[in-house]
């Protein structure tokens, strides 16, 4: 049994530790994800954890085990975020799992939702618009057209799974107060799939141009920086270009992890490394979009804490 300790705070950075814990891919032993001590997970964490299990199952390997968080409040939040609904089908769960489908938490704009086909994108976008409108304009102070633009960005992010992954994926959207990294409220879109990844998706069209440099990092650069698509059609490559355009307007951030690399377009408020290569391998592709509150001054309306995931969890967001 390969035991992978899920970090206390499972976000985009902490996923590297999970990937490292998995070792060479695919793991030769059955995997146990130990999340007993986990205090908080971002939407990125939820979707990536499901992706890991999905990838293992699609390889025909035994269902991985997941030891669920011990803290009642954390476990309850994971239920409200829609994680257990799908985890039941992919993991062998160990520990007490909420039986009844819980009401969604107020900061969950979109619980973890599968994305497999075009119809799923319609359902995701159609279901989020009203809730998103309130959060984006009232709490984040974005322009009134932001709801439509946000929905378009969400649609394009989900379509990457349908168009390029070759298998299904997951999307989740949360709004929370990101105290440590930003000190403001944010909306975070996370989309993760267990598919072929950017390198393989673009290989036929791009690898020859890059020669020995071709790899996960160059593939991400081609897609995110140069809007390259595997299709020759001149209208392709618009999705990520459109997302970047809106994020530029909102001073937002996008990061994509695929295989062993992560590439981010980093706004002034963040000190993230734009490109990281040689990371531990993680299957598929993981996209995170962060849209921050637009005014630096804390507003009464925008500083309310979201529902917690444990007594110690909120301080480290």
């Amino acid at each position: 049994m390969r035991v992978v300790t899920v970090p206390h705070y499972l976000d985009d950075k902490a996923l590297d530790a999970v990937a490292g814990g998995l070792g060479p891919w695919p793991p030769e032993e059955r995997v146990l994800f130990d999340a007993r001590a986990t205090r908080w997970a971002s939407p990125y964490g939820f979707t990536a954890l499901l992706t890991a299990a999905q990838a293992l199952r699609e390889l025909g390997l035994e269902a991985p085990r997941l030891a669920v968080p011990e803290d009642d409040e954390v476990r309850s939040y994971w239920g409200k975020a829609g994680f257990f609904r799908h985890a039941r089908e992919l993991f062998e769960l160990h520990g007490r799992v909420p039986r009844r489908p819980p009401a969604e938490a107020s900061d969950v704009l979109l619980p973890v939702t599968p994305v497999r086909a075009s119809e799923d994108v319609h359902a995701v976008v159609g279901g989020i618009q009203e809730h998103a409108a309130r959060i984006l304009t009232s709490e984040l102070g974005l322009e009134t057209a932001a709801t439509m633009r946000f929905s378009m960005a969400l649609s394009e992010a989900c379509q990457n799974v349908v168009e390029h992954a070759g298998t299904g994926g997951w999307v989740a959207v949360h709004s929370f107060n990101w105290r440590v990294r930003l000190g403001r409220r944010v909306v975070v879109i996370a989309v993760s799939d267990a598919g072929v990844g950017f390198r393989q998706s673009l290989e036929a069209a791009e690898a020859r141009k890059h020669g020995d440099r071709w790899g996960d990092a160059t593939a991400l650069e081609a897609a995110l920086i140069h809007n390259v698509s595997r299709f020759r059609d001149p209208g392709r490559g618009q999705g990520l270009a459109a997302i970047k355009r809106y994020l530029d307007m909102w001073k937002g951030k996008i990061s994509i992890r695929s295989g062993t690399a992560r590439l981010a377009i980093v706004p002034a408020w963040d000190d993230d490394t734009p490109l990281e290569d040689g990371l531990p391998y993680f299957p598929g592709a993981q996209v995170q979009i962060v849209i921050p509150e637009q005014e630096r001054e804390k507003r009464e309306q925008g500083t309310g804490e979201g529902e917690g995931q444990g007594r110690g969890g909120r301080g480290n967001r």
Partner: protein, 179 residues
Amino acid sequence: MILTIRLGEVLRETLTVRSRDLLTRPTGAAVRSSIEEAIAATPCPTTLLDFEAVGLIDFSCADEVVAKLLRRTEADQYVVLLGLDDTQAEAIDHVLARQDLAVAALPRSGGGGCRVLGRTTPDLIQAFDALHALGEGNAERLAPRLGWTLERTADALHTLALHRLVLAAAGTYAPLPLQ
């Protein structure tokens, strides 16, 4: 003669889920296919695509429905977009501009007159607006109004015609019919 296609109705017939939104490439391709069938079956040279009952349109779907339609329709077929809201216009404008395409569009009621979305220049916009203000005319008629040389005016009108943004016949240009 004009063919009007209400995209809200096409969407209802195309989608297996209930949605007012033009999202995703497969949806766009299916909607475009319906439009192309309708265009092929009509003798009307001008087709109005009515967006009034459409909610959101994303970039991929805008590419499938509008950009590909413009690239695939015959040179004697004209397309005008009707009833666009600002966000729909923004998405279509972005998608067309990247591909050197342009289309005439009329915003939803109260949103102003006909405008060009996509690849455009200040000269094209001025010539387009002048032609819409004056109605049918040639370069000689438009040049004084624009304060341009005859050559510059003729060049702008010719480019508008090449993009199928205006009707052209024997040196005379006219706005595309909207009703």
